[in-house]
Symmetry: C2
Subunit: 198 residues, 2 copies
């Protein structure tokens, strides 16, 4: 398949690039800087230009999203808006604009995360954004069929524990290899409206 990979330069994105290429797929990488295509998906106009440049696609895979971490007392209205723009709106645009760009039985696979279901202190904006994406995926799935849309909802990556272990005391981590398996399941499988939690 010809797969667009958004957020290609992050830790997950780079791993997915290799894992999907190893399955024989052709990967078109997108990132603000460093991808084959350089676009900021938080800007709807840039998503349009990105799809124009990407050509025919069988699947869209996202590992893109940034949210601020701060206690609720320290958060501002702009922080929650930044989380909406940084993780929710851009991924929604990948789907909304992608409907007319992706193959008839093509798929979208978005990224969310464990904070949608298991909170941590300083994580209210992240939880909000992840919950938004998961509910959007369930709703979009019933409208876009036979195209499909799923989300991957991983806990902290084992490979990121050196930086983030203190934020997830006692919570199990997940290896990037297992996360990549869930993306492969979403892209090559036939389910839709699913949240693959791992």
């Amino acid at each position: 398949m010809r797969i667009l990979l958004a957020g290609a330069t992050g830790k997950l994105g780079a791993f997915l690039h290799t894992a999907l290429a190893d399955r024989g797929h052709e990967i078109v990488t997108v990132a603000r800087s460093g991808g084959a295509l350089r676009y900021d998906i938080t800007d709807p106009a840039q998503v349009a230009a990105m799809y124009q440049a990407a050509g025919e696609l069988d699947a869209v895979v996202s590992a893109a999203g940034h949210v601020p971490y701060r206690t609720i007392a320290e958060m501002t209205p702009d922080d929650y808006l930044a989380a909406f723009h940084g993780k929710v709106a851009g991924q929604i645009e990948l789907v909304r604009q992608g409907i007319s760009r992706v193959a008839e039985r093509g798929s979208f696979t978005l990224i969310t995360g464990v904070l949608a279901r298991e909170p941590i202190p300083t994580g209210t904006a992240a939880s909000m954004a992840n919950g938004a994406i998961e509910a959007f995926v369930r709703a979009a799935a019933i409208e876009i069929a036979p195209q499909r849309v799923n989300a991957i909802s991983p806990t902290v990556f084992t490979e990121s524990l050196d930086a983030y272990a203190d934020f997830f005391p006692g919570m199990e981590s997940v290896d990037l290899a297992r996360v990549a398996q869930a993306y492969i399941r979403s892209v090559e499988g036939a389910q839709t409206g699913q949240i693959y939690a791992l």
Copy 2:
């Protein structure tokens, strides 16, 4: 208790006003127009002014939220942003600014809805907003204790079936009286971080 009721002039808000007053509570109504206090909670500055005007509070109850309904193909980026501002950001501000305004063991009760878990066509923005609120509630709860925060997540109101039945084929409705019970449970009970789905 002295309870601030946001969204007091809607069908649910008006019902809650009576139901909470019948429990012996003092209700301070807020709405864009028609409440005892007239503020637009989607504007953070007006939330600040609202709390200033409201005085001491034991609980905040919200029945406020508007989102656009449209097929995903007809949605625009502005529609999703409108859903964020119309149902998510304002309710988050009620909590964020309310932490320093509400009693030490006071509570917040927000409104979400069945579309967070059960989608309908034209509902992607509504689902997104509801999912955002539910995950926010779980996350905020662990930060604001001993203050509490819960959400009420009702399906279509029996009293609204004349207008909305066609959007919820075969789905059970819920009487406003049952929804009001869930608000009372949240306000007078001791749980936090709960989504009361009904």
